[in-house]
Symmetry: C2
Subunit: 457 residues, 2 copies
C-alpha cells in the first residue's frame, strides 16, 4: 500500500479552498485587466541554466532540480528546474518572443512557484505568485500605474489599512558609496540589510562584518536604515536623503524618480498610501531602480513587493529592455483574509443548487432526465444540479443533501411521475411543494431570487 | 548571456493563447459545476512513491523525477516527482482526506501534468488535463452523468460530430480468458491491443508474441478486436459479446453494466452518441470496469478518455472505494478548435478597451487621472484602460494603439484640459468626438453597445 501523503510543504486545495482562491484570483485578474495588463503563462519547468545565477547564492540553493532522463538518468545530474519566481521566466519570454510582443508589453501572471525552503507555518514549497509587470518603458508612469493597480486590488479585496514603502536602488547605492561600502559589496550588503526586521541592528552588523564590510562603513548605513521610523513623513525623508546622496549623480537621479512617483500616484488608487522609506532594501539581486513593498500594520512581512529591473531581460537578450513589476503574495493575502473574516458570501458555495434524489430503481432514468431539465433551467439561467448516484433510503438521501449544504432537493417518485410533477423541498425553510415538472426550474430560481445573496455565487 | 529558450517540449502561452485556453476551460468548468462537480487542486509535485507502480512500466519511465536537496543533493537520487496525471493524485487525496470528504465526492480538476515523452507535433512534455471524477458509488448513474457532462462540454464548445466508444474491462477479461490468455498476461495483452490503431493487427500480433501470449490465444482475441467495425450497431455488438463472455460471470456482469449505461445515457446529452466497441482497450493499468473514449471521425486519437477504477484508491487507503472518471484532452481540443475556426469572438479581445494617450510631459498626471475615471466607468460598468507610458509623438501613440487593436483612444491635451473635455477617437470608424470629461466613460460604453459583440469580451 502506498503512503497517502502529499509531499512535504505542498498542499491539496479541497473545494472550499479552491473557491476562496478563485475568488481572490478573480478580483486580481479583473483589476489587472482593467489596467490594460494581459495574461501570460509560462511552463512550470525551465532549463536549469535559465534560473541559475539570477536569484543570488541563497536563491540558487532553493531551486528544485529535475533529473536527466533516458540514457542519462543514471548520471544523477539535473538539466531542468522548477520555476522559482515569475520574473525570470518573463524576462526569458520577452527575449525569446521579442518580435511577437509589442514594444510596451504589460502582462499579469498567476501561477505557482516552487522553493526548496524548510517548510514552516505559512511557508510552503509550492505557492502562487500574482505578478504584474510592464516591459519597455523607463517612465515613472509605469511605477505609478503598477502601484495604482496593486492598491486597487487590495482595496477591492477589503484591505483598508495598507501602506506602500518605496525606495530606490540608486539611492541605496549612493548611500552605500558615500558611507564607504566598496561597490563589489553593495549586493551582499543589501541582502544583509533586508534582514533588519528579522535579526535587528546588531544581527545585521554582525552579518555585514562577516561579509567583509568594514565597521566604519557599516555604521552610517545602519544609522540611515534605523533612523527613519515609520512616523517620518516623506518630505522629511526626502530632505534627509538629499543630504545622503549629495554629489552622487545616480543617487540624485534615483531620488528625483522617487519624488516623481510620489507626485504621480496622487492620481491613482495608491494616493496617500506611499511613503519613502530609506530602510527598504529588498533581497533580490536583479533590482536596479525603484523598489516597493506593501505592508499592513499588524502583519510581519509584506503583502506585495516589487521594483524595477532594467538589466534582467538584457541577461537573456543581450540588449537592455527596461521593466518594472509588483508581485502580490497570494498565500499571505489568503491567510489574512481568512483570519479577518474578509471573504464575501460568494467565495463559498454549496456543491450544487439542487440535489435530485432517486426514489427507486425504476426512477433512475427519470431522475437523470429531471436533472437535465433543471440544468437547462428557465429564461437563460440554469441550475447547478447534483444527482444522488443510487437508489437508497430517502431519509439517507436528504441527510446527505443537508450535510452537503444543498439548498434544494427535487424528488420524482411514482406519484409525481404519474401526475407530471416534482416535489421540491426547500432545505433552509423546511417547506415542500409539488410543482409542475416543466415549471420546477423557474420555481427554484424564483426562490433563489427571494433569498438573494445567500447561496448562489 | 543565458540562452532565452523555453525547455524542450514546454510552451509559453502568450496573451492570445491564454485567452483561448481560458475560454475553453471556462466552458468546461461551467458545465462541470452544473453537474454538481466541485473544483480540486493538488500540488504539481508528489512523493515519487505515490506515482511509481501506478501507470505500468512504460509510464514509470516517463515520470520527471526531482533531485533530493540539501545534504543529500550530491547523492543524485530523487524522492519527488512531477504529477503524471490527475487520477492518481485524486486517489491519494481521497485516501488522505477521507474524513473531510463526503461519501460521494464529485470533483473536477484542470491542471497541467508532465511526461518525459519525446516531444513531437502536438505532443508536449507539459500539458493540461481536465478531469472529472465521481468517487464512492458503483452505480452506472455515475457513468451516465459523466458521459452526459463530457458530451455537454463538447456540444457547448461546438463539436457536433463526436462518438463515444464504450467497453468494459470485465468483458475484455472474459474475452481474453475464454480465448486462453493466461490471467497474468491480461494487463500486458491490453497494453498491446491498445496500439491496434497505430501498429495494426500484424504489429499487435508480433507484440503479443514477444510478450509471451501464445498465438493460439492471440488469434481469437484479435478476431474479436478487428471484427467489430465502426458501422456495427450496438445491438449486434451486444449479441456478439454475449457469445464471447458466455459462462464467465464477471464478463456477463460487465456486459449487463454496458447495457445499463446505454439505457441511462438516453436521458443525458450523450444520448445517441454511445457505441459499444469491443476493440476499445485503453492503455492504463488501473481500470477495472467500464472504459470510454470520445472520438471525432476526422481525427486520429481521442478527445477524451476514461473509465472506472475501483481498485486505485484502495492502493492508498487499504479499503476499496469505487471511482470513475473522464479526462478531456484540452490540448487536442484546442488544436481542433483552432483548425476548424471554432473559437467565438469572445475568446479574443484587445489588451484594453481604451488607450489614454499622453499629450506632453505636463499632461502625465492628468492622463493617469483620466484613466482612473474611465476605469471607474459609468452605471456600474467600467472600462479596461491602458495608458501610453511616456510623452511621445501623438502619431506614434495612435500607431501603437492601432497595432494593438485598441478600439478607442482618449486624449486630453492642453485645449481639452482647459475646456474640461476629452477627445475620444473611435479607431474602427475613424471618427473623433469632444466629450465632457465626466461623460467620456458613458460615451465609450454607449459606442460599445452600438457595435455589440465586436470587441468587448
Amino acid at each position: 500500500m502506498s503512503k497517502a501523503q502529499a509531499a512535504r510543504g505542498m498542499r491539496d486545495f479541497l473545494p472550499a479552498d479552491v473557491r476562496r482562491r478563485q475568488y481572490v484570483i478573480g478580483v486580481i485578474a479583473d483589476v489587472y485587466e482593467r489596467y490594460g495588463f494581459e495574461p501570460l503563462e509560462t511552463p512550470a519547468v525551465e532549463n536549469l541554466e535559465t534560473l541559475l545565477g539570477k536569484y543570488g547564492e541563497e536563491g540558487n540553493q532553493l531551486i528544485f532540480k529535475i533529473l536527466k532522463r533516458g540514457d542519462q538518468a543514471s548520471s544523477g545530474e539535473a538539466d531542468l528546474a522548477l520555476r522559482y519566481d515569475l520574473t525570470v521566466p518573463l524576462a526569458r519570454v520577452v527575449a525569446e518572443h521579442r518580435r511577437q510582443l509589442p514594444r510596451f508589453f504589460k502582462r499579469y501572471q498567476v501561477q505557482p512557484v516552487w522553493r526548496a525552503d524548510r517548510p514552516a507555518r505559512g511557508r510552503f514549497r509550492e505557492f502562487y505568485q500574482c505578478d504584474v509587470d510592464a516591459v519597455g518603458s523607463r517612465a515613472m508612469t509605469v511605477e505609478a500605474e503598477l502601484l495604482g493597480a496593486a492598491s486597487e486590488v487590495l482595496v477591492r479585496l477589503g484591505f483598508a489599512d495598507f501602506t506602500i514603502r518605496l525606495n530606490h536602488r540608486q539611492v541605496l547605492g549612493a548611500a552605500l558609496a558615500t558611507s564607504g561600502v566598496p561597490e563589489a559589496l553593495h549586493g551582499t550588503t543589501l541582502v544583509a540589510l533586508d534582514k533588519l526586521d528579522k535579526i535587528g541592528r546588531d544581527g545585521v552588523a554582525r552579518e555585514l562584518r562577516s561579509r567583509g564590510v568594514p565597521d566604519k562603513a557599516a555604521e552610517p548605513v545602519l544609522d540611515l536604515f534605523t533612523a527613519a521610523g515609520p512616523d517620518m513623513v516623506s518630505g522629511d525623508v526626502v530632505a534627509r536623503l538629499r543630504g545622503a546622496v549629495a554629489g552622487h549623480q545616480a543617487g540624485a537621479q534615483g531620488l528625483a524618480e522617487l519624488e516623481e512617483i510620489l507626485a504621480l500616484v496622487g492620481s491613482t488608487p495608491a494616493a496617500g498610501r506611499v511613503r519613502i522609506d530609506p530602510s527598504l532594501a529588498r533581497g533580490l539581486s536583479y533590482y536596479t531602480g525603484s523598489i516597493m513593498e506593501v505592508v499592513v500594520s499588524d502583519l510581519a512581512g509584506s503583502l506585495a513587493g516589487g521594483g524595477r529591473y532594467d538589466g534582467l531581460i538584457g541577461m537573456f537578450l543581450g540588449e537592455e529592455v527596461p521593466a518594472c513589476g509588483i508581485s502580490l503574495g497570494l498565500e499571505r493575502i489568503l491567510v489574512v483574509m481568512g483570519e479577518r473574516g474578509m471573504f464575501p458570501p460568494e467565495a463559498a458555495r454549496p456543491p450544487a443548487d439542487v440535489m435530485v434524489a432517486i426514489f427507486d430503481a425504476a426512477g433512475v432514468t427519470d431522475a437523470l432526465a429531471l436533472a437535465a431539465t433543471l440544468r437547462r433551467g428557465a429564461g437563460g439561467a440554469g441550475l447547478r444540479v447534483d444527482v444522488y448516484p443510487e437508489p437508497d433510503k430517502i431519509g439517507k438521501q436528504f441527510k446527505h443533501a443537508a450535510s452537503r449544504g444543498m439548498p434544494f432537493v427535487a424528488l420524482s417518485g411514482e406519484a409525481e411521475r404519474a401526475a407530471g410533477t416534482v416535489a421540491v423541498k426547500d432545505m433552509t425553510a423546511g417547506t415542500q411543494d409539488a410543482v409542475a415538472r416543466d415549471k420546477a426550474a423557474a420555481f427554484i430560481l424564483a426562490k433563489f431570487g427571494e433569498k438573494l445573496g445567500t447561496s448562489r455565487g
